[in-house]
Symmetry: C2
Subunit: 302 residues, 2 copies
């Protein structure tokens, strides 16, 4: 799949995801909460996690046609984006990173106040699990339960939240490469890997395919973070849509501070190879979108 084909695929699905998010996050939630929730999620972000869910569903579903599992995958794609969005809302708050700019606009607490930001984040996490368990739905209960399990595990203490706790504790500390990898594996990697596995859960993947997809998700998750560390050094705030140079300013350990810029860049290419090999090992024939997404992650400049 070349870059133009990926753009076409991406644009199609971004529109579908945006439409679904907009119609499923009700503006009706009381006392301005719905407005804050929508502000946190809509009109912004690269939507990498939803795209991974949908590309993984495509890989495991090729040759089958199942509208119900397509709907499950779309719900999973939106649910995982809600978790990502809530984590950004909380992460930006004064007691955490204290950031005023995100995706080129004011952060949620800067716009709506800290208390509303806290609640909006909490409500978005709950809503993610509502997305996965729609009332009177035809999505098989097995799939609903598996999706909830994957999302909860990726988001919780052994995943994203745990990684954020390590991040918090590590400011100003010298970490080894192993410790840094462990932090990122949880903080960013768990939800990216979880996205791939949730897409795979919306189909009948063999154990071999699941194991390869897991390796792919892991390598891609780490690559994403190393690139993030690189961009924090070489890009400017306008391009990033968020404050650049933040890691160094906060004395945070990064792949760049640990390996140097040159080696960090080679490491990204190494991880990309690993992700592509892992796809090959799945035995699945339609992994070209997943492959193209990995290449885009490794070579992104925003």
């Amino acid at each position: 799949m070349n870059s133009a084909e990926l753009d076409q695929w991406t644009n199609y699905w971004l529109a579908v995801v945006e439409q679904a998010l907009s119609s499923w996050i009700s503006p009706q939630a009381p006392a301005g909460l719905g407005e804050a929730m929508r502000y946190a999620v809509l009109d912004g972000g690269k939507r990498l996690r939803p795209l991974l869910v949908l590309a993984a569903r495509e890989a495991v579903a090729h040759g089958t046609k199942d509208d119900v599992l397509d709907e499950a995958a779309l719900r999973a794609a939106c649910a995982v984006e809600l978790i990502h969005a809530y984590s950004l809302v909380h992460d930006d708050m004064p007691c955490m990173d204290n950031d005023l700019l995100r995706r080129g606009k004011l952060t949620v607490h800067a716009q709506f106040g800290e208390a509303q930001a806290l609640l909006a984040g909490d409500a978005l996490q709950a809503l993610a699990f509502e997305f996965l368990t729609p009332d009177a739905s035809t999505i098989p209960d097995t799939v609903q339960a598996r999706l909830c399990r994957l999302l909860a595990t990726s988001a919780g203490h052994a995943g994203m939240a745990g990684g954020q706790a390590i991040d918090l504790a590590s400011v100003g500390m010298a970490l080894s490469e192993d410790q840094l990898r462990q932090m990122h594996r949880l903080k960013t990697g768990a939800l990216l890997e979880g996205s791939v596995m949730m897409g795979a859960a919306c189909g009948n993947a063999s154990p071999q395919a699941l194991s390869g997809l897991k390796r792919y998700g892991e390598a891609l998750g780490l690559a994403f973070q190393v690139v993030d560390d690189i961009l924090d050094v070489i890009a400017d705030s306008a391009t990033l849509g968020k404050t650049a140079g933040k890691d160094a300013a906060n004395d945070k350990p990064t792949y760049v501070s640990l390996l140097g810029l040159g080696k960090a860049k080679s490491y990204v290419q190494f991880l990309l190879q690993e992700a592509l090999e892992a796809l090959h090992s799945t035995g699945l024939t339609h992994t070209h979108t997943l492959a193209a997404l990995a290449e885009r992650v490794a070579n992104r400049n925003t």
Copy 2:
């Protein structure tokens, strides 16, 4: 069921719930996160929500024996308590109620810092859904999915989080009785009612039984809140284990400020009657524990 019998029932289940919570909330979560999560949940609280789950399971399961659904109910009981605990952690934070005392000890942010409190709350919410979807479990997927749906709905924008947003927006405002009821129906009532419905989901209740249990949960939830408002006025901080007189100090609308103390007390007894009538309407024969719990809620003094 008399008071001594309820004590016996309660003591038995409190020990079971405490043991389960302690073994299921791992102290291993990284960078002190596990410690903060355990501190937020263990050794404290009346555990009313878990007891409601278990009493509702008892009511719908009478005459059947099913270890798997018993396990589901225990998991649901613990999950709902995690949601309650996380909401207290976030609610106590400086940007919300800014409270330093809870259950007679320092609040989580006072003990571990604001950032760790924020993360611990977030991780507890995710863990609740992990409790409901154990890996390789024999709990039917239908039950797992239904429990996730009930919990997410009770906790989210149309439940607890929505109620907190109304609460936040209503400080210093004159609310009508309808508006006050709506706020409490969401803020406290939704999760109490959800507890009853989650217990009922661990069995085969008829639509008639479900509808009666729902009415029971609604009345009990409201009674709980009216009593809370009364106790905030008449009890002292030492008895409550939290700061008394807070509502008036914060100029919050309450049932006492709206109805006066005497009418608020009669309203509690009215709601208790409503809860007991609703139980009668279920057609279930073993609702005596639910009835005794409602009486205890209405007549509690802490």
